[in-house]
């Protein structure tokens, strides 16, 4: 009798390309499935959301964006979530890169995309000069952050931008920066990064203003000590951090219920309450990239686990057959 190969044995010798194809499908298909998975946000994310939602409306938020295309998967979601919150609350912000000359192009594309989205929803777009200032890149993170800590007006002074009427004027005259005298005037200083620039920011800026971080999953563990010591007031890490932010934007954190009691939605600090973003601007997008990616991520991990289980069953069956023969 010719030995018939069982399904398990065939699976043992499966062509890796079939595995690759399955993975590609498994991560691509969920991109179109609008499932909102349950999640318990990390306390770092809850703090970050709470901080962002409590920035006074007349303060300018500083956004330092130091990531480029290769870590888009995590960082773009961070930046989008951050800017969505700021735009919905009509908070003015200044954005720049402190290390990489290529970073501005990437955040410009993000702002462009968000403005298109806002227009599509009939919301007023965010405009350079009036609502935000794009300063481009500064080179040398160490020197830049040191100057920001010491005299932010001196650093920003030479930069110029077109105002609403198209005239080139120093950015310091813009509504965004005219009320910033020193870094302490910032509503919040958020570093969106894929590298160690957050360490430099902690050294040079923490203590002078409130510092928050949004970093890739790889950098995130090095931010946690700063969070625990209070040098960083809130942080989002990796893909989970993106989804956390979007989840919090939709649900709020520890909102006061109609009965007047603080409802601990997630195990969070009792004093930390911030409403969902939709209460402020009803048409805001809350779930976006993080939601799409998070389901794909679950699919990928589940696939990985299935692959491992199938592989082991196959090995077990083959061994048994061999022993039986």
């Amino acid at each position: 009798m010719t030995p018939q190969k069982s399904i398990w044995e065939k699976l043992q010798e499966i062509d890796r390309r079939i595995l690759y194809l399955i993975l590609a499908i498994a991560v691509t298909v969920p991109l179109w499935i609008p499932a909102k998975l349950p999640v318990i946000p990390d306390s770092t994310s809850m703090d970050l959301y709470g901080q962002l939602m409590s920035v006074p409306e007349d303060k300018t938020v500083f956004v330092q964006s130091d990531w480029t295309v290769s870590t888009r998967g995590e960082s773009q979601g961070h930046l989008e979530a951050l800017l969505r919150i700021l735009m919905a609350r009509r908070i003015k912000f200044v954005i720049y890169a402190a290390a990489d000359p290529q970073a501005p192009q990437v955040f410009r594309n993000v702002i462009l995309g968000l403005n298109q989205e806002r227009e599509a929803r009939g919301l007023p777009p965010y405009r350079q000069w009036e609502d935000y200032i794009d300063l481009g890149a500064f080179l040398n993170a160490e020197g830049t952050l040191n100057s920001i800590g010491q005299d932010v007006r001196k650093l920003f002074g030479p930069r110029r931008s077109a105002d609403t009427e198209g005239r080139e004027r120093p950015v310091l005259e813009s509504p965004v920066l005219s009320r910033v005298q020193k870094i302490g005037d910032a509503g919040l200083y958020v570093v969106v990064t894929a590298s160690a620039t957050i360490d430099v920011a902690v050294q040079r800026i923490s203590g002078k203003t409130k510092l928050a971080a949004m970093t890739t999953g790889v950098v995130f563990p090095s931010v946690l000590p700063f969070y625990q010591s209070g040098q960083v007031v809130g942080a989002a890490g990796g893909l989970k951090g993106v989804y956390d932010m979007e989840f919090l934007m939709a649900n709020g954190v520890n909102v006061v219920s109609p009965t007047g009691k603080v409802e601990a939605q997630f195990p969070a600090k009792a004093e930390l309450t911030a409403p969902p973003l939709t209460e402020i601007e009803p048409k805001t997008v809350t779930f976006a990239r993080g939601q799409r990616y998070f389901l794909s991520f679950h699919a990928a991990i589940v696939l990985l686990i299935i692959a491992v289980v199938v592989g082991n069953i196959g090995m077990y069956k083959m061994r048994k057959n061999r022993r039986g023969a």
Partner: protein
Amino acid sequence: MNPETYLLIKLTFGVLATIGLYSVLYKETKLYRFFEHVFLGLAAGFSIVFLWRETLFPLWWEKMVGQIDEQSGALVQPAYWAYIVFLPIGLMAYTVFSKKNGWMSRVPIGVILGLWAGQQVQVWWQTYGGQIAGTMQPVIPTGLAGPAGTFQWTKPGNTGLTPEQIADFNTKIWPSQAVNNLIFVITVLAALSYFLFSFELKGKAMIGFNKLGRWLLMIGFGAIFGSTVMARFALVIDRMSFVFVEWVQSIQAVFNRGA
């Protein structure tokens, strides 16, 4: 140029490059070979630029000829002319293809390695002293007073507990804390024993301890594997989204505007 149109062109380039490189997952074809060589060429070209722009110009040339503030004319940094010696030392490396003077290429190599070697002695304690100290965990409940971010069984950040409650809580779980610290110390020692090369292990206990060390190392490696997965999968998901969602949207955006 219109930003949206430019964005579409750029995204299209990116999509083509992604597909080209991904084709290697199926097979090494001419398509992959084309993109591989484009990649290598662009990377080499960029290295040439980057090298001058980010290393030689700021770290060498500007140091050598000094800096003067353009607006005020004030001295920013004097010209350290002695930086010129790096040039001949660096040039010595180019003798590597010469039969007679090829030995000279070892001079810059020697300097680089020497600097590295000296640093090892200098930084050894800075790097490992703290880690050695941190390993000396006591067998007592360290509770929430432990070093920031490390050995905390429960995080005060997300509990909403008062300090008194936390202290009370800790008194209840202290045995597990002491046990954990003991596990920590034993793990370090077992893993360290695996890296003893010049001692012949004798006795069941020693061999067992050594084997335990290897298993613990494997647990550590498994944990790294598991926790790296999120960052890696995030990237592939993003690539797929880049090709199938954003690019398509960008095309729509440009055509909608045109229509």
